[in-house]
């Protein structure tokens, strides 16, 4: 007879109250500080990612406002050159590495299991580890700022200026080690997403039914797995040069400054797509709810997501048009940079058609999503201009490019993210955000953003170079810079309104119910906020819009959300085949654990040791991390990894 520990036929039924109670007991995190430090619940981790990312957004925003005060007029003295250089470097690092990607990880961590019909991510403990390392790496880099030695060579950190010869402080050591550290978080997080997608979806959740957010995060994750090693290596080589006198970037000894640029941009260009594709997914999934119709062109949009990233790996050289690379190669990379506009156009027309052919319900979330289309187009066409090699020789390193990246990163990341918060806040907390304040919030941000950054294109066309801490009045940039500074402060007020709305609505917001927007996807089938086990029974998915099937009236079969697989022999969820989503294993999920935290503490000790040359501390940190890892991996009976010896 088969051993039920090793194989069994899952029951198929409706959940009873007693069963749900058992699940609650199995999955809940213990209360208090112990639970807080050891939880592996993807929803808790997702929220932490969001909150932490917003904290870094605020820090980066304050740096930005200081810079705008310095640049508000010519020859001002708010920041000296040393402070200004650290401010713009930390601003870039905060926004690009510590806000824009982690905030999307926050959404995806929270939402993936819910939209895929699973009870957790594939590796819950790895998820916690990814979060702790992210926090530690972020604080590590900010520690540099606290002692006045923050990174000071901009976010792309060109050598040889970053070499010890020209940059003898600890500034670049904070950056090098911090980025290697952060890379660990990104990598394990990405692997977690990929395996989650491949293995832990609800039965019937085939690849052609995945929400676009999932496509976006999946694409970004695969890209990260392939791209992050490049930048980790680059920073590792830089650190070796600085500490041990190797010669990778040391010119007199044959070091190659352009190798840095290749390694950095081979990573950073795909990375920019990783910052926007999941956010575009948020719009693709959110817009249809408020347009009251399915997304126009699901398959083209999904394919465009993947195509963008594939092309995105082939255009890194367009950051290096002015480095003396032969013109034939430039023509090729310029062409590729222009062609990459095609998949973006697919998404734009799909969204526009969705609005035209639907009945737009004007909520705050809708306004953020719809306005993103316009901002996306502006950021897209300015990017298309920089793809044209001879034009880019003028545009590059001027404020035109600064305007471009802000339309990309604020337009295609921040706006969808804030829209996403208005959209999913009810799911996260059980309460609605205030719509009236929301409208004010939207218009303040939208107007502030465009006042700040639309004129900045002209600032660039009139020749203002990036990264200058001051300028003289006879350059003709005074008025435009003053306008930008005013816009930046309006935008900041808009962001503050979001935070105020969140704080107020957490206490007094209207109770949401399971599905306040009458949205079509699985996450809205569970209570708000969802129980720790997400789904009492594992749902069965038969279409892209499980909760709209009855009204769209086209599905011959129906998804099942109230009856499904009962899995309650411990923490369990279903494992499915990668393409079709057919169940092929009952997975045992780990319980809460301190090991992710302990491992992060060990790694932090290690990196601090390397930073300040306390080698004993580095070794001790490695030992702590090792012990945590061994305890973590020790085979457990509860996970079906070894036989439980019954007494």
């Amino acid at each position: 007879m088969a051993d039920p520990e090793l194989e069994r036929r899952p029951e198929f039924a409706t959940a009873t109250v007693a069963y749900a109670h058992d699940l609650e007991r199995l999955w809940e995190t213990s209360p208090g500080i112990a639970g807080w430090l050891s939880t592996v619940d993807h929803k808790e981790i997702g929220i932490r990612y969001l909150v932490t990312a917003f904290a870094f957004l605020c820090a980066g925003g304050i740096e930005a406002l200081l810079m705008r005060l310095q640049l508000a007029g010519p020859d001002r003295h708010v920041l000296g050159p040393h402070a200004y250089d650290q401010a713009f470097s930390m601003h870039g690092i905060s926004m690009i590495f510590l806000y824009a990607f982690p905030v999307l990880s926050g959404f995806s961590n929270y939402l993936w299991p819910l939209v895929l019909g699973s009870r957790d991510m594939a590796f819950p403990r790895l998820n916690a580890l990814s979060y702790w390392i992210y926090v530690a790496a972020g604080l590590f880099m900010y520690a540099g700022l606290a002692i006045g030695q923050a990174p000071n060579d901009g976010w792309y950190n060109y050598v040889p200026y970053a070499n010890r010869e020209y940059n003898p402080g600890m500034n670049e050591d904070f950056y090098s080690l911090g980025m290697i550290f952060l890379g660990i978080s990104t990598t394990v997080g990405s692997i977690n997403f990929i395996v989650t997608l491949a293995r832990t979806r609800a039965p019937g959740m085939s690849v052609n039914r995945l929400p676009i957010l999932v496509w976006g995060t999946l694409t970004a994750s695969v890209a990260n797995v392939l791209a992050v090693p490049s930048v980790s290596l680059a920073f590792f080589l830089l650190w070796m040069d600085r500490q041990f006198g190797t010669h990778f970037f040391d010119v007199p000894q044959g070091g190659q400054p352009l190798l840095w640029q290749h390694l950095f941009w081979m990573y950073a260009h795909p990375w920019v797509y990783a910052l926007v594709l999941p956010a575009m997914g948020i719009v693709s999934d959110g817009l249809p709810t408020f347009c009251r119709r399915p997304l126009v062109g699901y398959a083209p949009v999904a394919l465009a997501t993947v195509a963008t990233m594939i092309l995105g790996f082939g255009v890194w050289v367009h950051h290096m048009f002015a480095t003396g690379i032969p013109n034939l190669a430039l023509a090729f990379f310029g062409g590729a940079s222009i062609v990459i506009a095609v998949p973006s156009a697919v998404a734009v027309f799909a969204w526009t058609a969705t609005i035209w052919l639907g009945r737009p319900v004007i909520t705050t979330a809708f306004l953020f999503f719809a306005s993103m289309i316009v901002l996306f187009v502006i950021g897209g066409v300015s990017g298309f201009m920089t793809g044209s090699v001879p034009v880019d020789w003028q545009l590059t390193e001027t404020y035109f490019v600064v305007a471009h990246i802000h339309y990309v990163l604020i337009g295609i990341n921040v706006f969808p993210v804030v829209g996403g918060i208005y959209y999913w806040f009810p799911k996260f907390t059980g309460r609605m955000l205030d719509e009236k304040l929301g409208k004010w919030n939207f218009w303040t941000m939208f107007i502030g953003f465009n006042v700040a950054f639309l004129p900045m294109h002209l600032t660039g066309l009139w020749g203002m170079p990036r990264r200058i801490y001051t300028y003289s009045p006879d350059m003709g940039w005074t008025t435009l810079n003053a306008i930008t500074t005013v816009g930046a402060f309006i935008f900041a007020i808009g962001v503050a309104m979001l935070l105020i709305n969140v704080v107020i609505s957490l206490r007094v917001g209207r109770i949401a119910g399971a599905n306040p927007w009458d949205a079509p996807t699985l996450e809205w089938s569970v209570p708000s906020p969802p129980p720790p086990y997400n789904f009492a029974v594992i749902p069965h998915v038969a279409s892209r819009h499980p909760l709209w099937e009855d009204r769209l009236g086209e599905s011959e079969v129906t998804s099942l959300v109230t009856r499904g697989l009962l899995l309650d022999h411990g923490r369990e969820t279903i494992g499915t085949s990668p393409l079709d989503g057919d169940p092929d294993v009952i997975l045992k999920m780990p319980g809460d654990s301190y090991m992710p935290l302990l491992l992060s503490v060990g790694l932090t000790m290690g990196f601090v040791g390397l930073l300040v040359h306390l080698w004993w501390l580095a070794v001790a940190g490695a030992a702590v991390a090792l012990i945590a890892g061994v305890v973590w991996l020790w085979p457990r009976g509860t996970l079906g990894q070894r036989r439980v010896r019954h007494v």
Binding site: F290, G334, T352, S382, E397, L461, P465, G476
Partner: protein, 338 residues
């Protein structure tokens, strides 16, 4: 809103933006002053026009799309049932078709311009080796005859109407050579030699600026390109080749200069032969000081020597321990370096 009506309007608006007051925006690049810049300016304006049209049309589509069937009462979203009206794939197909044509056209235009500015149409007679240093520019005028070579800094003179080859050397970190009115950027990278070329269509003073972040005084790494008629350029060149003449009254100042400044600066004809800082043999022929931080006046010069870190925080130039009278003598000497 037809494209045919919008496009010329946008182009006219852009031309307006570009044309007036070029002199008031010395680093602006919507106006070109030479054969290398002109095709690029046209391309820039053309792409800008396409970009504006695309933004206006899609924004209009989004706004109108929202307006025409909007639902503003959001109290009960369930009262608007979801439907699957219309396919909508046509939108994507048509949109892609139009974008494809625009992209292909832009690509062809780009390649044409790239070929046009790839190299000068005529052989060049003058090659200048320009070195980017933290935070100033060195220019060496090359000549087959070594006695005809000379070095200057901060101000590059070229003959008008003649293509000039520029060899770019990275002196320490990466900088970028940029004279917006004449040509786009080219980085100066240590360990490799990049080449570009410039040509001024008419006489004038064109502002240049380092445009790759290179350290604390990246903001103050400007230079001037002075385009002179052929005979004036020849005269300037001949003057630059001459060593300095130290008049008797300036002897003390010159001695002080050699002692305090000569390890870094060169003044040909004196004992000052340092090479890490600008060659000052003809300092008074230049309009700017310290990478374009200040104009070259006697007061600015004295202030700069007395307190370099105050004028340009972080500059490599150290303050010298000069008394008031000594400073006066050094400045007096420098004033004679015409």
């Amino acid at each position: 809103m037809s494209i045919r009506r919008v496009a010329p309007a946008a182009a006219a608006l852009l031309t307006l933006l570009a044309q007036p007051a070029a002199g008031q925006r010395p680093l602006g690049y919507l106006h070109g002053e030479g054969p290398k810049a002109w095709p690029v300016v046209q391309l820039t304006l053309g792409l800008l026009a396409i970009a504006c049209v695309v933004v206006i049309v899609t924004s209009a589509l989004v706004v109108v799309g929202i307006w025409r069937r909007r639902v503003t009462d959001i109290t009960d979203i369930r009262s608007v049932p979801p439907t699957r009206a219309g396919g909508g794939l046509r939108w994507i197909a048509i949109g892609l078709g139009i974008s494809g044509v625009a992209l292909l056209g832009s690509l062809i235009w780009t390649v044409v311009v790239l070929a046009a500015v790839n190299g000068p149409s005529r052989p060049t007679r003058l090659t200048i080796e320009v070195t980017g240093q933290q935070w100033w520019w060195k220019a060496r005028y090359l000549d087959d005859d070594p006695s005809q070579q000379f070095i200057t800094a901060g101000e590059i003179h070229i003959p008008v109407g003649e293509p000039v080859r520029v060899r770019l050397i990275g002196g320490d970190v990466i900088h970028s050579f940029w004279v917006p009115a004449l040509a786009g950027k080219m980085e100066t990278i240590p360990g490799q030699i990049n080449e570009t070329w410039i040509e001024a269509g008419q006489p004038g003073i064109y502002r240049g600026q380092c445009s790759e972040y290179c350290g604390v005084q990246h903001a103050h790494m400007g230079f001037l390109v002075v385009a002179d008629p052929a005979e004036k350029f020849a005269a300037w060149r001949a003057a630059q080749l001459r060593p300095a003449q130290v008049a008797v009254p300036q002897q003390t100042g010159a001695t002080l200069f050699v002692y305090h400044c000569g390890a870094c600066h060169t003044v040909r004809g004196t004992g000052a032969g340092g090479t890490v800082a600008p060659d000052l043999t003809h300092l008074m022929s230049r309009g700017i000081l310290a990478g374009d931080v200040v104009a070259n006046t006697i007061g600015n010069l004295a202030g700069w020597i007395a307190n370099p870190q105050g004028v340009k925080p972080g500059t490599r130039m150290p303050a010298q321990d000069l008394s008031g009278p000594e400073l006066q003598r050094v400045v007096g000497f420098l004033q004679t370096l015409k």
